[in-house]
């Protein structure tokens, strides 16, 4: 009988920090721009240049540590990781080795279809990014704009057991880092990158199997697919009597498979030693407290606040705090004067449905929070009915903006003029004498028919409450 295996997975996430300047010099930390346009003596590795630590980067690293319930070390040490590569102009990367800034944290996850799980975080250390190499045949071009950008590397224990758990962890981590203002999480620009360590072992076995490291997976989908493939590959290998070899593997997204990049014996000896150009980083208790106090609201706390402060349902609050942008959109709508619950309904049901094609990215919404607030206010004031509001909303989605203008230009203002509505009621009652007789004979359902016809006649502008009231009065049935 075939043995049953389990996957053992650990993750290393590199997240670029949202500081204005690079980790060790005053050159701007931005994405894009002309190649090698953001390089100074320090990030270009010129003779004589020295690193000076960016305080903002420290704050953001500590913030990441606090958001993930880590111990913030009072003393941490920068080390040099030595290796040669053209996009590493100093010949070493400044990183942290045996004394990282944050240790021993955790993140609770709820994988789809699984049960809640606590993933232990081993460490978060600070380091600088390398430049970017682009290969064209036998030529390689190097762009150092990214060199020296501050990063945190967040390393878990091998606590994950499935691709679903791995992606659940990554999504949650991604969400938290964005909420904390640590990283902007743009995976396409490479500022949230993931390496995965995968091994397998027979269920019940305590010792870990030999692991492979999967490098540079830049989407959640790739992470899932790469782990799937790798677990199957390792099981097949072992079942076939082979041994897993420790190595670094890449992901071939076209062929949907992993491939060998570097065997263990080709691995670098990084010759780590303490960076003599930077004194140890000493953080006081009060500094850490200050960072804690200045910590932006994290998703869980924000969700609870939305329930309490705005009276939202747990579900709506969950949806509205799924991304920082969405929660911000909601709060801006409320701040612009919309009723919170109505605004929440419009966003979660109407707006997000319209944005389905963009993965619900609120950043792609053609409607601004102030405009949505106006719409909600128009309903509240009775200027338009809920039904008309949906029509107005459709126009707004098309990018026509200002709901008041739409209502005015299309003449959609709700009619509250009793005389006018009365005339429509009379006209409809006169038009359908047999239905009137049936109604008066006791078929109460017919009321809805009349309301519908009157609304049609008024092109939706008649106030439904007024219509009802007048109908009852005219037909003498209460």
């Amino acid at each position: 009988m075939a043995r049953v295996y389990e996957a053992v997975i650990g993750l290393e996430v590199h997240a670029q920090l949202l500081s204005r300047t690079k980790a060790f010099c005053l050159v701007a930390n931005e994405f894009g721009g002309d190649p090698n346009s953001r390089v100074g003596p320090v990030s270009g590795g010129l003779p004589g240049a020295l690193p000076v630590l960016n305080e903002k980067a420290v704050e953001l690293a500590v913030r990441a540590g606090l958001a993930l319930d880590c111990t913030i070390q009072r003393k941490s040490v920068f080390s040099r990781k030595n290796y040669f590569y053209p996009d590493l102009p100093k010949g070493y990367q400044i990183s942290q080795f045996d004394e990282p800034t944050c240790t021993d944290g955790y993140l609770d996850i709820l994988p789809e279809g699984g049960s809640a799980k606590r993933v232990r975080i081993q460490r978060i250390h600070m380091e600088e990014d390398a430049g970017k190499s682009t290969h064209f045949g036998s030529t390689t071009l190097v762009n150092l704009n990214r060199a020296g950008v501050p990063l945190v590397e967040i390393v878990t224990h091998p606590d994950l057991r499935s691709p679903t758990e791995a992606t659940a962890y990554l999504r949650k981590l991604h969400q938290i880092l964005i909420f904390a203002g640590v990283c902007d999480g743009n995976m396409e620009e490479g500022n949230f990158r993931c390496d995965v360590n995968v091994s397998i072992r027979p269920v019940g076995q305590k010792e870990l199997g030999t692991r492979c490291e999967l490098k540079n997976l830049n989407s959640f989908r790739f992470v899932e697919a790469a782990i799937d493939f790798e677990v199957a590959r390792q099981i097949a290998l072992v079942e076939g009597g082979g041994l897993v070899v420790q190595e670094t593997r890449g992901w071939d997204s076209a062929g949907n498979k992993t491939f060998t990049m570097r065997k263990k014996e080709e691995a670098h000896d990084y010759r780590y030693f303490p960076e003599p150009d930077l004194p140890p980083l000493l953080l006081t208790e009060s500094y850490v407290d200050e960072v804690r106090r200045a910590m932006p609201e994290l998703p869980t706390r924000k969700r609870d606040r939305f329930v309490k402060e705005y009276g939202l349902s747990q579900l709506d609050a969950e949806v509205l705090t799924s991304t920082k942008d969405l929660s911000q959109y909601f709060e801006e709508t409320v701040a612009a004067g919309a009723l919170a619950k109505t605004a929440a309904n419009w966003i979660t049901s109407e707006l997000l449905r319209e944005l389905k094609d963009f993965d619900g990215d609120i950043g792609r919404s053609p409607i601004r929070p102030t405009e949505l607030a106006q719409l909600v206010k128009l309903i509240k004031k009775g200027t338009i009915s809920g039904k008309i509001a949906k029509k107005v909303f459709e126009d707004m989605i098309q990018g026509h903006g200002d709901p008041e203008k739409i209502v005015r230009e299309k003449g959609l203002v709700q009619v509250l003029d009793t005389g006018l509505v009365e005339a429509w009621v009379d006209e409809v009652l006169a038009q359908f004498p047999s239905q009137l007789a049936e109604y008066q004979g006791g078929r109460m359902q017919i009321l809805g028919f009349f309301v519908g016809e009157i609304m049609k006649l008024s092109r939706g502008k008649a106030n439904p409450a007024l219509v009802n009231e007048l109908l009852k009065k005219k037909t003498g049935i209460c």
Partner: protein, 509 residues
């Protein structure tokens, strides 16, 4: 003979007065300095490159204008030679290596910028051992510099060109760097005064790194007052160097003069470590140093024997720490972004590009030290070598902490011998490394150390006395040297090469 020529053979203080009183101009001095640099270059090879004459004169004119406006700064208008390891914007900075043969510095080192702001006039870039790795200036890609007392001999190293330029009185001042004795040992060999400041006193930004935790820039001058003046100009915290100290900078020049006039040698407790007087010390050097100690005693100092028990580990610890850091610091010279790139690179393999470029660009001593350091940091050896060396380094520092509880200064020979011949010791790295045996410890402990001339051996070669002070007490070193030099002016005698330019200016301030 011009006044400028006379003055360059005199004391720094005398020159300072002459400039301040308008008896000589910065332009006259700069012109004379450049003339001397050119005249001595064939014999001494003290410079890798000279500053452009027009630029030098422009800067000297600017200094004269400031002097005329009544501005005063101890180095205003002074010609200065800068070790070619220190970046000077728009000028070639080679580290005496083929690797950087054509490297033009795109920015000023902090010390260069501070010298310029203070009105010193940089006349050229002084020769050195390649990447400051050596004790004789013989590893320079541009050929060895030579000793103005005897040009068949080395000027010491690595700041050999800086020492030779001052000893030949080409410039009254120069900047050197000191990683294990690279200011003090050549100062001793060339009969001048050189100071390695406390680690962190002077910014390292823009100084080609050899061993980051040991490197320190410092002044070299005919006498202690010139060193004080230069130190005052270059010291102080720097936002570009996280290891620089922001503690206030004393008025070194005035304070040194005050120390001298108050004769503060009296009452100083000067410890002489018995470990520094043992095997390997040339008896003649030992005797002359003893005479100097007697002279200090005559001036009221208390001389006492002390012990620095971990001294014998200083050399191995130094060579592990320095080579380890160097192996990493020199990794950036890879032929990719700047510097030497191998021309006959045809294989298309990146490793070959590195190996060829670095093999061609670095000289033998540099390659040797990179290999040593790479080995010491390698996985499996780190604990036995680098980590252990760091631990012993802490013990060496402790030795000094303990010693300075009972004395104010520590004195020793600067080097076990006087200047040796060009070509000597080049095949025996260990014998060469022993030339720094008395100076290494100050770097390992981060202490300030000074070397001054205290006499001459039978071959008329200068002998240096090293003084070490507690952290941040440079004034005590400079003041002691200044008072000693005032009483023993023969120790300031110009070298034979300098005397070819004329006699020594007489007269006071």
């Amino acid at each position: 003979m011009s006044d400028a020529s006379l003055l360059l053979n005199g004391s720094f203080e005398h020159l300072r007065c002459a400039l301040d009183e308008g008896r000589v101009t910065a332009v006259e001095l700069a012109r004379e300095s450049l003339d001397r640099a050119r005249a001595t270059q064939p014999e001494l090879n003290a410079f890798v490159s000279l500053s452009e004459q027009a630029e030098v004169l422009r800067n000297a004119e600017a200094a004269d204008a400031r002097l005329l406006r009544g501005e005063r700064h101890p180095v205003l208008g002074m010609p200065v030679a800068v070790k070619d390891l220190i970046l000077t914007r728009g000028q070639r900075t080679t580290a005496a290596s083929r690797m950087l043969e054509n490297f033009v510095a795109p920015y000023d080192a902090t010390v260069s910028a501070r010298l310029k702001q203070s009105g010193a006039v940089i006349i050229g870039k002084a020769n050195l051992d390649e990447f400051a790795m050596g004790s004789s200036n013989q590893t320079s890609y541009f050929g060895p510099s030579r000793n103005p007392w005897d040009s068949t001999r080395v000027p010491g190293g690595s700041s050999g060109g800086s020492a030779a330029a001052v000893a030949a009185r080409v410039s009254p001042l120069s900047l050197g760097t000191d990683t294990g004795g690279s200011i003090r040992q050549p100062a001793s060999f060339c009969g001048i005064t050189g100071l390695k400041p406390t680690y962190g006193r002077v910014s390292r930004y823009g100084v080609v790194a050899f061993a980051s935790s040991l490197d320190q820039v410092g002044p070299m001058c005919t006498d202690a007052l010139g060193c004080a003046a230069t130190l005052e100009a270059i010291s102080g915290g720097d936002v570009h160097d996280a290891t620089s100290s922001s503690r206030p900078v004393p008025k070194f020049f005035e304070d040194t003069i005050a120390f001298r006039s108050l004769e503060k040698i009296r009452g100083l407790r000067i410890g002489v470590p018995k470990e520094y007087l043992g095997q390997g010390l040339d008896p003649e050097v030992g005797r002359i140093v003893q005479e100097a100690l007697d002279n200090l005693q005559a001036l009221g100092a208390e001389i006492k024997s002390i012990s620095l028990p971990h001294t014998r580990f200083a050399l191995p610890v130094y060579y592990l720490v320095a080579t380890s850091e160097a192996s990493s610091n020199l990794a950036r010279y890879d032929g990719i972004h700047y510097g030497h790139r191998a021309k006959d690179f045809t294989s298309g393999k990146l490793e070959d590009l590195y190996a060829l470029s670095r093999g061609e660009g670095f000289g033998e001593e540099v390659r040797l030290r990179i290999l040593l350091g790479t080995y010491a940091l390698s996985s499996g050896y780190y604990d036995a070598y680098y980590r252990k060396a760091s631990q012993v380094r802490a013990l060496i520092r402790q030795d000094f902490e303990t010693a300075f509880r009972d004395c104010d200064l520590i004195a020793s020979p600067t080097s076990p011998t006087t200047a040796f011949g060009v070509g000597e010791k080049t095949d025996d790295p260990i014998a060469m490394y022993l030339a720094d045996v008395y100076t290494l410890s100050a770097n390992l402990a981060g202490l300030p150390g000074l070397s001054m001339n205290v006499g001459f051996d039978a071959k008329r070669l200068p002998v240096g006395l090293q003084l070490m002070a507690p952290w941040w007490e440079e004034t005590r070193l400079l003041g002691t040297a200044a008072q000693y030099q005032a009483i023993h002016p023969s120790t300031l005698t110009p070298s034979p090469v300098a005397l070819k330019f004329g006699r020594v200016a007489q007269g006071g301030c």
